[in-house]
Symmetry: D2
Subunit: 301 residues, 4 copies
């Protein structure tokens, strides 16, 4: 029996890269939070403190900012691919790279009914995400791209039921045929291609997710998630699987009866904790191997 070094990675987390495009009078903005993680044989650094195979996290940061100009940020997926490939291709000890990016959306400010050319208002809604993994050098190189979003807060004020559930001696929940259903959706979808119109696909997936949440008369949040995922996969053949993490943000009907006030699903208390948490994957049965696609840049929190 010996004590050994197991899986490890290191990088620079949360580089707040802002890229302004100002080639014309109308500017555009990309507002990113970029995390990098490198994988390879860094055992000398762990075992004896020898850094000769370690590209500093500061260098990873410098590269992330410089690439925002050198390669541009047409989309977070494309920019992330450039960064990941650079680290694996150009840094000898690096055998794999993981790039995770969050993007905060802005829109042009409206002034007298027109979009202002260089003033922006942050939208503040969902955060767009991407996770790029590149492994191996040369002809053996493999690439995985995951697109996603988080904090997309959705609510249906009717059209949602919950009943017929399993019960045991601790069950006190009353079944209902009309409840508020709300979630702050996290969704991530794995691509099988690396050359796509990433921005168009993102807009399309978001549109489909919202539509399915709306139109499905829901018997469970599980069912809603499944239909959302199925619709995305039906639309985009180059998406192999989609994963959801959906808190059931409870809106409890407030008891107004005690005051002689009718409450016909009109007044609710939005509770913080605890919350239900539903997680599901919808996938193609012939989805190619996910490999390290789902292994995050930070594997403990």
């Amino acid at each position: 029996m010996a004590i050994v070094l197991g899986p490890n990675q290191y990088g620079k987390a949360e580089n707040r890269v802002v890229r302004i495009t100002r080639d014309s009078a109308r500017h555009e903005i990309r507002d990113l939070n970029v995390s990098t993680a490198l994988r390879g044989d860094f055992s000398a650094a762990h075992l004896v403190g020898d850094q000769s195979q370690v590209l500093p996290t500061d260098t990873q940061k410098q590269t992330a900012y410089s690439y925002a100009k050198e390669k541009g940020v047409e989309s977070i997926e494309a920019y992330g691919l450039e960064l990941a490939r650079h680290f694996v291709d150009d840094v000898v000890p690096v055998e794999g790279a993981r790039i995770e990016i969050e993007e905060y959306a802005w829109e042009h400010a409206i002034v007298d009914g027109e979009e202002h050319e260089h003033t922006f208002v942050r939208l503040g809604q969902e955060v767009r995400t991407a996770s790029i993994t590149v492994e191996g050098k040369g002809a053996e190189q493999k690439t995985w791209v995951i697109g996603g979003l988080k904090d997309l807060v959705l609510l249906k004020s009717t059209g949602s039921e919950f009943h017929g559930f399993l019960t045991d001696e601790y069950t006190r929940l009353e079944p209902t045929t009309d409840r508020v259903m709300a979630t702050a959706l996290v969704a991530q979808w794995r691509f099988t291609e690396t050359e796509l119109d990433w921005n168009a696909v993102y807009a399309g997936v978001k549109r489909i997710l919202i539509k399915q949440f709306a139109v499905l008369h829901s018997l469970a949040l599980q069912q809603t998630l499944y239909e959302m995922g199925k619709a995305v996969l039906e639309e985009y053949p180059f998406i192999a699987e989609i994963k959801f993490s959906a808190p059931n943000k409870h809106h409890f009907l407030y008891n107004l009866e005690t005051f002689g006030v009718e409450n016909n699903n009109e007044v609710f208390h939005a509770d913080d904790r605890p919350y239900g948490l539903i997680q599901a994957t919808v996938m193609r049965d012939d989805a190619p191997d996910a490999g390290p696609a789902w292994t995050p840049a930070a594997n403990l929190a």
Copy 2:
């Protein structure tokens, strides 16, 4: 010399009241965070633990939820006025009430180009705020209403300068004629009337603030705030003053020259802390007395 009880107040903070209007197939939603604070002579509770003059914070909570149905939530200002007047008018020991409300905006989900009737997406942008103070009973009663917003994140990618400033031996800042200017705006405006189309005014103030931020070629964030406030007061005669708190969210130009990469105000690091903080009031010189209008429900944090 004696030790005495000084200013005090108590209430229920952060009631998460959600009000759905479902009188027709098209639902509407008001998503509120309501805090109440009562003022009066509660010295017996402090000095000897006698609660006979203390309406429990739990009762204040019950009232906030019930009023969301009994009085409705046409606007947070109107709903807050109902709550504040109730506590002062109907609870004998209460001599003053302060109601503070945050509202989170939602929009109807778009499905196939149409607004869905009962599905909503949280906008996530700025938070609308209102602070209502009522003092005194009967004919002596006085009322103050403050509208506002917070977390409206604005950015100009050009059209902002900063130079000609005072210097001393600790000054190292370089003057600039072209910088990114960004803020997460907090604004609060004090009304001199209590019967208004609150929602229309809110939309108007927000529109004006954004416009002035955009169109003023700025020599300082101070100047921008002043012009924003001035434009609001010029438009609405029933607004006596407007206060701003504006963090200068620094976007530092990233040094790419060292890599031989030109950076013509295109790549920035968005820094977290520290940040400049500019606060200013723009007011009419004949503004009526603010009284307790600016005394918050929570006076320490």
Copy 3:
């Protein structure tokens, strides 16, 4: 009627200054979050963008870091006084300065039962605070010092009652003679002197607050706060007043009876929101004028 500039101030918020003392093998650490705000006639900056009277917030930052070495950080009160006096005394247009500081406590790591000389563990408990205001130049200069703490989380598992309260038609709360009482205390105390052993006083006030919370059999959180404040004022003649903001962090007794399980004040749900919020001032009846002592560096949030 004219539109005019009202009260205003500006500064650099949240400078994260860390000061290590390493004059001997045993190091010490002061971990600060420093905010500065300057007051005076800055109307030219607001009205026409003229910065000639504006010392940049960047300069304020540089000064805060440099003073951590030049003047040292024996206590946050003493360091804050140095900074405030410098801005008012040495910068011509500055008529008043407000310095607000948070301090995060660390202790020496324990290794084999001994304190390690240069390794520290952050305590993570309450945050110590100080707010210093200096106004006027030369002989006219006035100074106010406020000490404080926040996020001191206290809980009593018995020894707390709540009954005999005022009721109305919305009251449903049941009186109780034994409840959990918990709070995350904010306290700020105003000094009448500026030359004190600040660190010793801080330790003493904290000790007294905790003791009174513990030993008073409480009939209301209001009563507990009053006794805490009274004891502090009785101990320290140079403290004129103390203000509290105390959320009543509700611990709701969980209904286990439905499962045939006895719950004799043993299992609770710690709820997040809403929460009661009690605020009170305990003061000497001959306390000198507070002037701007309580006017914060950020007056809107």
Copy 4:
């Protein structure tokens, strides 16, 4: 090619269970945040909204609170094992359960030098964690227990170097032989036994981690983590592996030279973002299979 349901789980997250032991005059408190997740064949709920195999998340919550009394909370590991085994053993469709618990530490308040019997101060330092996984019924059942902590903030003011690293064209970092090293440690260790004195082991692991952080003259955070893990494994034969996630919380030496002020590693700026992030596993080479031990209750964030 068909679209199918992939991996899924559901549960109740963040139940804020507080357990007071009051069997004698001296009370004790356990303050927990409990998340449950159930695994099994719930495809009917996803595919057609049939809940007949779904034990509601509300029932999971009720059970968590009731078990705090029925089984007690001697340690979070023992309590989590009770909950996990209950769901798998007693609920027919449940094939696996994952329980994740955070514990917030309190200590008895000190009054006149003595511990007060029923008043507590929250420590606020690190959060203790546990993750329990049970899979399979009857004789086939397997169990994994992970202990851990997070947010243990450590700092060395000397005794840390970083040099000799790999460089490329983006490297601008200067090597150093004396820097501040600080982290907010996350550590999780996997047990190979399920009957242990969990509280004693927790205290021991924490003690060892702090000691190794202190005594190792560090050439890299990687090296420090490895030595910390190695020492834990050497002490406890029933720990198979330990994983670390350690942000390198940068403390940048502040340039005071420009003011003619010497800064001999005495004044630093504590920066927020970006930060280095080092992750490493230290394990026995004969560690038994981890199975689902590291699969969290929430697999996307």
